[in-house]
Amino acid sequence: MGLLTRRGLIGVGAGGLLVSGCDRLTNAPAVQRLIGHGQDLSLGAQRLLLSGQPLAKQFTAAEISPVFKVNGSVDPGTEAYHALLADGFATWRLAVSGLVLRPDVFSLTQLKAMPARTQITRHDCVEGWSAIGGWTGVQLAHLLGLVGVAPGARYIVFHCADNLAGSRDASGLYYESIDLVDAFHPQTLLAYAMNGAPLSVGHGAPLRLRVERQLGYKQAKFVMRIEAVSSLAGIGRGKGGFWEDRGYEWYAGI
Protein backbone atom coordinates (compact mmCIF):
# COMPACT_ATOMS: atom_id res chain seq x y z
CA MET A 1 0.00 0.00 0.00
CA GLY A 2 2.93 2.26 0.81
CA LEU A 3 4.13 1.78 -2.73
CA LEU A 4 0.73 2.64 -4.14
CA THR A 5 0.50 5.82 -2.10
CA ARG A 6 3.98 6.92 -3.03
CA ARG A 7 3.29 6.18 -6.69
CA GLY A 8 0.05 8.10 -6.41
CA LEU A 9 1.87 11.12 -5.06
CA ILE A 10 4.50 10.92 -7.76
CA GLY A 11 1.73 10.64 -10.33
CA VAL A 12 -0.05 13.73 -9.05
CA GLY A 13 3.19 15.68 -8.93
CA ALA A 14 4.10 14.66 -12.46
CA GLY A 15 0.59 15.50 -13.59
CA GLY A 16 0.87 18.97 -12.10
CA LEU A 17 4.18 19.53 -13.85
CA LEU A 18 2.65 18.28 -17.07
CA VAL A 19 -0.29 20.66 -16.78
CA SER A 20 1.76 23.80 -16.11
CA GLY A 21 4.27 22.69 -18.71
CA CYS A 22 1.49 22.34 -21.24
CA ASP A 23 0.33 25.91 -20.80
CA ARG A 24 3.83 27.23 -21.28
CA LEU A 25 4.07 25.02 -24.34
CA THR A 26 0.66 26.15 -25.60
CA ASN A 27 1.73 29.76 -25.59
CA ALA A 28 5.07 29.22 -27.30
CA PRO A 29 4.90 30.50 -30.89
CA ALA A 30 6.80 27.50 -32.23
CA VAL A 31 4.25 25.13 -30.68
CA GLN A 32 1.37 27.18 -32.00
CA ARG A 33 2.88 26.89 -35.46
CA LEU A 34 3.42 23.15 -35.03
CA ILE A 35 -0.10 22.33 -33.87
CA GLY A 36 -1.41 24.68 -36.55
CA HIS A 37 -0.20 22.15 -39.10
CA GLY A 38 -3.01 19.91 -37.88
CA GLN A 39 -5.41 22.46 -39.38
CA ASP A 40 -3.59 22.40 -42.72
CA LEU A 41 -3.86 18.61 -42.75
CA SER A 42 -7.55 18.73 -41.84
CA LEU A 43 -8.31 21.32 -44.54
CA GLY A 44 -6.39 19.32 -47.14
CA ALA A 45 -8.07 16.06 -46.17
CA GLN A 46 -11.55 17.57 -46.18
CA ARG A 47 -11.04 19.31 -49.50
CA LEU A 48 -9.91 15.98 -50.94
CA LEU A 49 -12.91 14.10 -49.53
CA LEU A 50 -15.32 16.84 -50.60
CA SER A 51 -13.86 17.37 -54.07
CA GLY A 52 -17.03 15.97 -55.63
CA GLN A 53 -18.99 18.76 -53.87
CA PRO A 54 -21.35 16.32 -52.08
CA LEU A 55 -24.39 17.79 -50.34
CA ALA A 56 -24.69 17.97 -46.57
CA LYS A 57 -27.38 15.61 -45.30
CA GLN A 58 -30.89 17.02 -45.59
CA PHE A 59 -33.54 16.11 -43.07
CA THR A 60 -37.34 15.86 -43.12
CA ALA A 61 -39.70 18.44 -41.61
CA ALA A 62 -40.45 15.97 -38.81
CA GLU A 63 -36.80 16.09 -37.71
CA ILE A 64 -36.65 19.87 -37.17
CA SER A 65 -35.58 20.95 -33.65
CA PRO A 66 -38.55 22.20 -31.61
CA VAL A 67 -36.46 25.19 -30.52
CA PHE A 68 -33.50 26.41 -32.58
CA LYS A 69 -31.09 27.99 -30.15
CA VAL A 70 -30.26 31.65 -30.79
CA ASN A 71 -26.52 32.11 -30.39
CA GLY A 72 -24.01 34.93 -30.88
CA SER A 73 -25.68 38.27 -31.45
CA VAL A 74 -29.34 38.22 -30.44
CA ASP A 75 -30.02 41.66 -31.95
CA PRO A 76 -27.57 44.09 -33.57
CA GLY A 77 -29.25 46.72 -31.40
CA THR A 78 -28.21 49.77 -33.42
CA GLU A 79 -30.56 52.61 -34.37
CA ALA A 80 -29.83 52.00 -38.03
CA TYR A 81 -30.76 48.34 -37.76
CA HIS A 82 -33.92 49.03 -35.81
CA ALA A 83 -34.97 51.60 -38.40
CA LEU A 84 -34.63 48.91 -41.07
CA LEU A 85 -36.51 46.43 -38.91
CA ALA A 86 -39.33 48.91 -38.23
CA ASP A 87 -40.32 49.10 -41.88
CA GLY A 88 -39.88 45.37 -42.53
CA PHE A 89 -36.53 45.87 -44.24
CA ALA A 90 -38.21 47.65 -47.17
CA THR A 91 -35.32 50.10 -47.39
CA TRP A 92 -32.64 47.49 -46.66
CA ARG A 93 -30.29 46.86 -49.59
CA LEU A 94 -27.69 44.16 -50.05
CA ALA A 95 -24.64 45.64 -51.71
CA VAL A 96 -22.43 43.31 -53.76
CA SER A 97 -19.08 44.87 -54.51
CA GLY A 98 -15.36 44.26 -54.77
CA LEU A 99 -13.92 42.05 -57.48
CA VAL A 100 -17.16 41.63 -59.39
CA LEU A 101 -17.84 42.68 -62.96
CA ARG A 102 -21.18 44.42 -62.28
CA PRO A 103 -21.42 45.72 -58.68
CA ASP A 104 -25.04 46.01 -57.70
CA VAL A 105 -27.50 46.43 -54.85
CA PHE A 106 -30.50 44.18 -54.23
CA SER A 107 -33.66 44.74 -52.21
CA LEU A 108 -35.18 41.94 -50.14
CA THR A 109 -38.09 41.83 -52.62
CA GLN A 110 -35.66 41.33 -55.48
CA LEU A 111 -33.88 38.50 -53.64
CA LYS A 112 -37.19 36.81 -52.86
CA ALA A 113 -38.16 37.01 -56.53
CA MET A 114 -35.09 35.01 -57.52
CA PRO A 115 -35.19 31.19 -57.79
CA ALA A 116 -35.44 29.90 -54.23
CA ARG A 117 -34.02 26.82 -52.58
CA THR A 118 -35.25 25.25 -49.34
CA GLN A 119 -33.15 22.81 -47.34
CA ILE A 120 -33.51 21.27 -43.90
CA THR A 121 -30.05 20.87 -42.44
CA ARG A 122 -28.22 20.36 -39.18
CA HIS A 123 -26.47 23.34 -37.66
CA ASP A 124 -23.42 22.34 -35.61
CA CYS A 125 -22.08 24.91 -33.20
CA VAL A 126 -18.36 24.87 -32.46
CA GLU A 127 -19.32 24.51 -28.79
CA GLY A 128 -20.80 21.09 -29.47
CA TRP A 129 -24.57 21.47 -29.71
CA SER A 130 -26.67 20.88 -32.83
CA ALA A 131 -30.04 22.10 -34.08
CA ILE A 132 -31.97 21.14 -37.20
CA GLY A 133 -33.73 23.86 -39.15
CA GLY A 134 -35.19 24.58 -42.58
CA TRP A 135 -33.72 27.41 -44.62
CA THR A 136 -35.11 29.14 -47.68
CA GLY A 137 -33.11 31.56 -49.75
CA VAL A 138 -31.32 32.30 -52.97
CA GLN A 139 -28.24 30.32 -53.89
CA LEU A 140 -25.14 32.44 -53.56
CA ALA A 141 -24.02 31.00 -56.90
CA HIS A 142 -27.07 32.57 -58.55
CA LEU A 143 -26.32 35.99 -57.13
CA LEU A 144 -22.65 35.74 -58.04
CA GLY A 145 -23.73 34.76 -61.54
CA LEU A 146 -25.71 38.00 -61.81
CA VAL A 147 -22.84 40.26 -60.78
CA GLY A 148 -20.08 38.17 -62.38
CA VAL A 149 -17.00 37.22 -60.37
CA ALA A 150 -13.97 39.10 -61.70
CA PRO A 151 -10.67 37.33 -62.39
CA GLY A 152 -8.48 37.34 -59.30
CA ALA A 153 -11.35 37.02 -56.81
CA ARG A 154 -10.68 34.19 -54.36
CA TYR A 155 -12.95 34.83 -51.40
CA ILE A 156 -16.45 36.10 -50.77
CA VAL A 157 -16.68 38.22 -47.61
CA PHE A 158 -19.93 38.81 -45.72
CA HIS A 159 -20.14 42.04 -43.74
CA CYS A 160 -22.73 42.02 -40.96
CA ALA A 161 -24.69 44.54 -38.92
CA ASP A 162 -23.92 43.11 -35.48
CA ASN A 163 -21.05 44.23 -33.32
CA LEU A 164 -20.44 41.03 -31.38
CA ALA A 165 -17.37 42.40 -29.61
CA GLY A 166 -19.41 45.37 -28.42
CA SER A 167 -16.75 47.83 -29.59
CA ARG A 168 -17.57 51.49 -30.25
CA ASP A 169 -15.80 51.41 -33.60
CA ALA A 170 -16.26 49.00 -36.50
CA SER A 171 -13.52 46.64 -35.28
CA GLY A 172 -16.03 44.44 -33.47
CA LEU A 173 -18.40 44.01 -36.40
CA TYR A 174 -19.14 40.41 -37.33
CA TYR A 175 -17.91 39.22 -40.69
CA GLU A 176 -17.19 35.94 -42.37
CA SER A 177 -15.57 34.65 -45.53
CA ILE A 178 -15.66 31.55 -47.69
CA ASP A 179 -13.72 30.68 -50.80
CA LEU A 180 -15.21 30.08 -54.22
CA VAL A 181 -15.39 26.31 -53.70
CA ASP A 182 -17.96 26.82 -50.97
CA ALA A 183 -19.47 29.95 -52.55
CA PHE A 184 -20.58 27.96 -55.60
CA HIS A 185 -21.76 24.91 -53.65
CA PRO A 186 -25.49 24.33 -54.35
CA GLN A 187 -26.39 24.40 -50.64
CA THR A 188 -24.69 27.74 -49.99
CA LEU A 189 -27.63 30.10 -49.53
CA LEU A 190 -28.43 33.65 -48.62
CA ALA A 191 -31.41 32.67 -46.49
CA TYR A 192 -34.31 35.03 -45.79
CA ALA A 193 -36.67 32.44 -44.25
CA MET A 194 -36.38 29.79 -41.57
CA ASN A 195 -38.84 26.95 -41.04
CA GLY A 196 -41.23 28.63 -43.48
CA ALA A 197 -41.33 32.02 -41.74
CA PRO A 198 -39.34 35.21 -42.43
CA LEU A 199 -36.03 35.13 -40.62
CA SER A 200 -36.41 36.36 -37.03
CA VAL A 201 -34.08 38.96 -35.57
CA GLY A 202 -32.39 36.35 -33.39
CA HIS A 203 -31.61 34.20 -36.39
CA GLY A 204 -30.21 37.05 -38.49
CA ALA A 205 -32.97 39.04 -40.20
CA PRO A 206 -33.20 40.01 -42.94
CA LEU A 207 -30.53 37.76 -44.47
CA ARG A 208 -28.05 35.19 -43.24
CA LEU A 209 -25.51 32.94 -44.86
CA ARG A 210 -25.97 29.16 -44.87
CA VAL A 211 -22.77 27.37 -45.73
CA GLU A 212 -23.61 23.79 -44.85
CA ARG A 213 -20.66 21.43 -44.26
CA GLN A 214 -19.13 24.02 -41.92
CA LEU A 215 -19.70 24.98 -38.29
CA GLY A 216 -22.19 27.50 -36.93
CA TYR A 217 -19.89 30.51 -36.73
CA LYS A 218 -19.57 30.50 -40.53
CA GLN A 219 -23.35 31.07 -40.84
CA ALA A 220 -23.11 34.88 -40.67
CA LYS A 221 -26.30 36.64 -39.60
CA PHE A 222 -27.55 40.20 -40.42
CA VAL A 223 -25.66 40.26 -43.75
CA MET A 224 -25.48 43.82 -45.09
CA ARG A 225 -22.82 43.71 -47.75
CA ILE A 226 -21.00 41.10 -49.82
CA GLU A 227 -17.55 41.68 -51.17
CA ALA A 228 -15.42 39.58 -53.51
CA VAL A 229 -11.72 39.89 -52.69
CA SER A 230 -8.39 38.42 -53.71
CA SER A 231 -7.02 38.31 -50.16
CA LEU A 232 -8.36 38.38 -46.62
CA ALA A 233 -5.53 40.58 -45.41
CA GLY A 234 -6.70 44.02 -44.37
CA ILE A 235 -10.21 42.88 -43.46
CA GLY A 236 -10.71 42.75 -39.71
CA ARG A 237 -7.51 41.29 -38.31
CA GLY A 238 -6.93 39.42 -41.54
CA LYS A 239 -7.92 35.87 -40.59
CA GLY A 240 -11.16 35.84 -42.57
CA GLY A 241 -13.80 36.19 -39.88
CA PHE A 242 -14.78 37.47 -36.46
CA TRP A 243 -14.05 34.17 -34.70
CA GLU A 244 -11.13 33.36 -36.97
CA ASP A 245 -9.53 36.60 -35.78
CA ARG A 246 -9.98 35.21 -32.26
CA GLY A 247 -8.23 31.90 -32.85
CA TYR A 248 -10.79 29.67 -34.54
CA GLU A 249 -10.14 27.87 -37.82
CA TRP A 250 -11.06 29.63 -41.04
CA TYR A 251 -12.10 26.31 -42.55
CA ALA A 252 -14.68 25.12 -40.06
CA GLY A 253 -15.33 21.64 -41.41
CA ILE A 254 -14.54 19.86 -38.15
Partner: protein
Amino acid sequence: MVTLTADRAPAERQVIYRHGLAVRLTHWINVLVISLLLMSGLNIFNAHPRLYWGQFGADHDHAWLWLAHGFPKWATLPHYRDLATARRWHFFLAWLFVINGAAYWLIGLINGHLRRDIVPTRADLAPGNLWRSILDHVRLRHPVGEAARRYNVLQKLAYVAVIGVLLPLMVITGLSMSPGFDAFAPWLPGVFGGRQSARAIHFITANLIVLFVIVHLVEVVLAGVVNELRSMITGRYALPSGEH
Protein backbone atom coordinates in the same frame (compact mmCIF):
# COMPACT_ATOMS: atom_id res chain seq x y z
CA MET B 1 16.43 -14.96 -25.08
CA VAL B 2 18.99 -14.01 -22.43
CA THR B 3 19.38 -15.16 -18.84
CA LEU B 4 20.28 -12.48 -16.34
CA THR B 5 20.17 -12.15 -12.60
CA ALA B 6 17.04 -10.15 -12.01
CA ASP B 7 16.70 -7.50 -9.35
CA ARG B 8 16.47 -8.83 -5.82
CA ALA B 9 15.41 -12.29 -6.96
CA PRO B 10 16.89 -15.02 -4.84
CA ALA B 11 16.97 -17.49 -7.69
CA GLU B 12 17.93 -16.72 -11.26
CA ARG B 13 14.95 -15.44 -13.18
CA GLN B 14 14.67 -15.98 -16.85
CA VAL B 15 14.56 -12.76 -18.87
CA ILE B 16 12.71 -12.82 -22.14
CA TYR B 17 12.38 -10.26 -24.90
CA ARG B 18 8.73 -9.44 -24.54
CA HIS B 19 7.85 -6.22 -26.42
CA GLY B 20 9.13 -5.40 -29.90
CA LEU B 21 10.33 -1.92 -30.77
CA ALA B 22 7.14 -0.99 -32.66
CA VAL B 23 4.94 -1.96 -29.71
CA ARG B 24 7.09 0.02 -27.27
CA LEU B 25 7.28 3.12 -29.46
CA THR B 26 3.58 3.21 -30.32
CA HIS B 27 2.70 2.52 -26.67
CA TRP B 28 4.59 5.51 -25.33
CA ILE B 29 3.43 7.81 -28.13
CA ASN B 30 -0.11 6.73 -27.24
CA VAL B 31 0.49 7.51 -23.55
CA LEU B 32 1.44 11.08 -24.41
CA VAL B 33 -1.07 11.64 -27.20
CA ILE B 34 -4.08 10.11 -25.43
CA SER B 35 -3.34 12.02 -22.22
CA LEU B 36 -3.29 15.30 -24.12
CA LEU B 37 -6.30 14.32 -26.24
CA LEU B 38 -8.22 13.64 -23.04
CA MET B 39 -7.22 16.95 -21.49
CA SER B 40 -7.99 19.02 -24.60
CA GLY B 41 -11.20 17.00 -25.02
CA LEU B 42 -12.33 17.96 -21.51
CA ASN B 43 -11.71 21.62 -22.37
CA ILE B 44 -13.85 21.24 -25.51
CA PHE B 45 -16.55 19.43 -23.51
CA ASN B 46 -16.62 22.33 -21.05
CA ALA B 47 -17.72 24.69 -23.85
CA HIS B 48 -21.07 22.90 -23.75
CA PRO B 49 -21.05 20.49 -20.80
CA ARG B 50 -24.23 18.66 -21.72
CA LEU B 51 -24.83 15.45 -23.63
CA TYR B 52 -27.87 14.43 -25.64
CA TRP B 53 -29.17 11.43 -27.54
CA GLY B 54 -30.29 11.85 -31.13
CA GLN B 55 -29.49 14.03 -34.11
CA PHE B 56 -29.78 17.39 -32.43
CA GLY B 57 -29.48 18.78 -28.94
CA ALA B 58 -29.05 22.25 -27.44
CA ASP B 59 -30.16 24.25 -24.41
CA HIS B 60 -33.88 23.62 -24.87
CA ASP B 61 -33.55 19.90 -25.51
CA HIS B 62 -33.33 17.16 -22.91
CA ALA B 63 -29.73 16.55 -21.82
CA TRP B 64 -29.05 13.17 -20.20
CA LEU B 65 -25.85 14.52 -18.70
CA TRP B 66 -25.30 18.08 -17.56
CA LEU B 67 -22.19 18.99 -15.59
CA ALA B 68 -23.05 22.56 -14.71
CA HIS B 69 -19.46 23.47 -13.85
CA GLY B 70 -17.77 21.21 -16.36
CA PHE B 71 -14.48 19.49 -15.57
CA PRO B 72 -11.97 21.20 -13.27
CA LYS B 73 -9.57 23.49 -15.08
CA TRP B 74 -6.46 21.67 -13.88
CA ALA B 75 -7.58 18.63 -15.87
CA THR B 76 -7.95 20.51 -19.14
CA LEU B 77 -5.56 21.61 -21.88
CA PRO B 78 -4.96 24.49 -21.82
CA HIS B 79 -5.91 24.74 -18.16
CA TYR B 80 -8.03 27.82 -18.66
CA ARG B 81 -11.15 28.07 -20.76
CA ASP B 82 -10.06 28.41 -24.39
CA LEU B 83 -12.08 26.44 -26.90
CA ALA B 84 -10.11 27.62 -29.94
CA THR B 85 -6.74 26.52 -28.52
CA ALA B 86 -8.15 23.29 -27.13
CA ARG B 87 -9.58 22.43 -30.55
CA ARG B 88 -6.30 23.18 -32.28
CA TRP B 89 -4.51 20.83 -29.86
CA HIS B 90 -7.18 18.19 -30.14
CA PHE B 91 -7.16 17.97 -33.94
CA PHE B 92 -3.36 18.10 -34.17
CA LEU B 93 -3.14 15.28 -31.63
CA ALA B 94 -5.90 13.38 -33.41
CA TRP B 95 -3.70 13.22 -36.51
CA LEU B 96 -0.81 11.84 -34.43
CA PHE B 97 -3.19 9.38 -32.77
CA VAL B 98 -4.51 8.10 -36.10
CA ILE B 99 -1.05 7.82 -37.68
CA ASN B 100 0.34 6.09 -34.56
CA GLY B 101 -2.62 3.72 -34.35
CA ALA B 102 -2.48 2.89 -38.05
CA ALA B 103 1.25 2.15 -37.74
CA TYR B 104 0.58 -0.17 -34.79
CA TRP B 105 -2.18 -2.02 -36.63
CA LEU B 106 -0.19 -2.31 -39.85
CA ILE B 107 2.99 -3.55 -38.19
CA GLY B 108 1.03 -5.84 -35.87
CA LEU B 109 -0.79 -7.42 -38.79
CA ILE B 110 2.38 -7.87 -40.83
CA ASN B 111 4.66 -9.25 -38.12
CA GLY B 112 1.94 -11.34 -36.51
CA HIS B 113 1.96 -9.54 -33.15
CA LEU B 114 -1.81 -9.07 -33.15
CA ARG B 115 -2.55 -12.68 -34.10
CA ARG B 116 0.15 -14.20 -31.88
CA ASP B 117 -0.06 -12.06 -28.73
CA ILE B 118 -3.39 -10.23 -28.67
CA VAL B 119 -6.16 -12.32 -30.21
CA PRO B 120 -7.31 -14.99 -27.71
CA THR B 121 -6.91 -18.58 -28.83
CA ARG B 122 -9.66 -21.19 -28.70
CA ALA B 123 -8.00 -22.66 -25.60
CA ASP B 124 -7.89 -19.19 -24.00
CA LEU B 125 -11.62 -18.85 -24.43
CA ALA B 126 -12.53 -22.26 -23.03
CA PRO B 127 -14.94 -21.67 -20.12
CA GLY B 128 -12.66 -23.44 -17.65
CA ASN B 129 -9.72 -21.24 -18.57
CA LEU B 130 -11.81 -18.08 -18.51
CA TRP B 131 -13.12 -18.94 -15.06
CA ARG B 132 -9.63 -19.72 -13.79
CA SER B 133 -8.38 -16.39 -15.11
CA ILE B 134 -11.25 -14.55 -13.44
CA LEU B 135 -10.44 -16.24 -10.11
CA ASP B 136 -6.74 -15.42 -10.52
CA HIS B 137 -7.61 -11.76 -11.05
CA VAL B 138 -9.99 -11.65 -8.10
CA ARG B 139 -7.24 -13.15 -5.90
CA LEU B 140 -4.71 -10.72 -7.43
CA ARG B 141 -2.66 -13.73 -8.43
CA HIS B 142 -0.47 -13.25 -11.49
CA PRO B 143 0.86 -15.95 -13.79
CA VAL B 144 4.38 -17.10 -13.01
CA GLY B 145 7.03 -18.99 -14.91
CA GLU B 146 6.14 -20.28 -18.34
CA ALA B 147 2.53 -19.06 -18.09
CA ALA B 148 3.82 -15.49 -17.77
CA ARG B 149 5.31 -15.64 -21.26
CA ARG B 150 1.89 -15.01 -22.72
CA TYR B 151 -0.89 -12.61 -21.87
CA ASN B 152 -3.68 -14.21 -19.88
CA VAL B 153 -7.12 -14.36 -21.45
CA LEU B 154 -8.67 -11.42 -19.58
CA GLN B 155 -5.64 -9.33 -20.45
CA LYS B 156 -6.01 -10.32 -24.12
CA LEU B 157 -9.72 -9.50 -24.09
CA ALA B 158 -9.02 -6.12 -22.50
CA TYR B 159 -6.42 -5.33 -25.17
CA VAL B 160 -8.76 -6.49 -27.95
CA ALA B 161 -11.47 -4.22 -26.55
CA VAL B 162 -9.14 -1.22 -26.41
CA ILE B 163 -7.18 -1.77 -29.62
CA GLY B 164 -10.04 -3.20 -31.66
CA VAL B 165 -13.05 -1.31 -30.35
CA LEU B 166 -12.53 1.68 -28.06
CA LEU B 167 -9.65 3.45 -29.81
CA PRO B 168 -11.08 3.09 -33.34
CA LEU B 169 -14.49 4.12 -31.96
CA MET B 170 -12.96 7.39 -30.72
CA VAL B 171 -11.82 8.22 -34.25
CA ILE B 172 -15.11 7.24 -35.90
CA THR B 173 -17.35 9.06 -33.41
CA GLY B 174 -14.99 12.02 -33.62
CA LEU B 175 -15.34 12.13 -37.40
CA SER B 176 -19.13 11.82 -37.04
CA MET B 177 -19.14 15.21 -35.34
CA SER B 178 -17.46 16.90 -38.31
CA PRO B 179 -20.00 18.61 -40.59
CA GLY B 180 -17.45 18.35 -43.41
CA PHE B 181 -16.87 14.63 -42.99
CA ASP B 182 -20.63 14.10 -42.64
CA ALA B 183 -21.15 15.58 -46.11
CA PHE B 184 -18.69 12.96 -47.40
CA ALA B 185 -20.37 10.15 -45.43
CA PRO B 186 -23.94 11.35 -44.66
CA TRP B 187 -24.86 7.93 -43.23
CA LEU B 188 -22.13 7.99 -40.57
CA PRO B 189 -23.80 9.85 -37.66
CA GLY B 190 -26.88 7.67 -38.20
CA VAL B 191 -24.82 4.60 -37.31
CA PHE B 192 -24.68 5.97 -33.76
CA GLY B 193 -28.18 7.42 -33.76
CA GLY B 194 -27.28 10.95 -34.85
CA ARG B 195 -24.55 13.51 -34.31
CA GLN B 196 -25.39 14.21 -30.68
CA SER B 197 -25.46 10.47 -29.95
CA ALA B 198 -22.04 10.20 -31.59
CA ARG B 199 -20.81 13.00 -29.34
CA ALA B 200 -22.20 11.19 -26.29
CA ILE B 201 -20.57 7.90 -27.35
CA HIS B 202 -17.29 9.77 -27.95
CA PHE B 203 -17.49 10.92 -24.32
CA ILE B 204 -18.52 7.52 -22.92
CA THR B 205 -15.75 5.77 -24.87
CA ALA B 206 -13.19 8.25 -23.53
CA ASN B 207 -14.37 7.34 -20.02
CA LEU B 208 -13.98 3.64 -20.77
CA ILE B 209 -10.44 4.28 -21.99
CA VAL B 210 -9.66 6.11 -18.74
CA LEU B 211 -11.14 3.16 -16.84
CA PHE B 212 -8.92 0.78 -18.81
CA VAL B 213 -5.85 2.92 -18.05
CA ILE B 214 -6.65 2.87 -14.32
CA VAL B 215 -7.01 -0.94 -14.28
CA HIS B 216 -3.90 -1.24 -16.48
CA LEU B 217 -1.84 0.89 -14.05
CA VAL B 218 -3.11 -1.02 -11.03
CA GLU B 219 -2.13 -4.28 -12.73
CA VAL B 220 1.32 -2.90 -13.53
CA VAL B 221 1.82 -1.99 -9.89
CA LEU B 222 0.55 -5.39 -8.69
CA ALA B 223 2.63 -7.31 -11.21
CA GLY B 224 5.81 -5.41 -10.38
CA VAL B 225 6.41 -1.86 -11.50
CA VAL B 226 10.13 -2.18 -12.23
CA ASN B 227 9.84 -5.31 -14.31
CA GLU B 228 6.76 -4.14 -16.19
CA LEU B 229 8.14 -0.67 -16.89
CA ARG B 230 11.48 -2.09 -18.01
CA SER B 231 9.76 -4.46 -20.38
CA MET B 232 7.88 -1.61 -22.03
CA ILE B 233 11.04 0.51 -22.27
CA THR B 234 13.78 -2.00 -23.15
CA GLY B 235 11.59 -4.92 -24.15
CA ARG B 236 13.20 -7.20 -21.53
CA TYR B 237 10.92 -8.89 -19.05
CA ALA B 238 11.93 -11.19 -16.19
CA LEU B 239 9.54 -14.10 -15.88
CA PRO B 240 8.09 -13.92 -12.36
CA SER B 241 9.03 -16.91 -10.27
CA GLY B 242 6.73 -19.01 -8.09
CA GLU B 243 7.27 -17.33 -4.70
CA HIS B 244 5.66 -14.09 -5.91
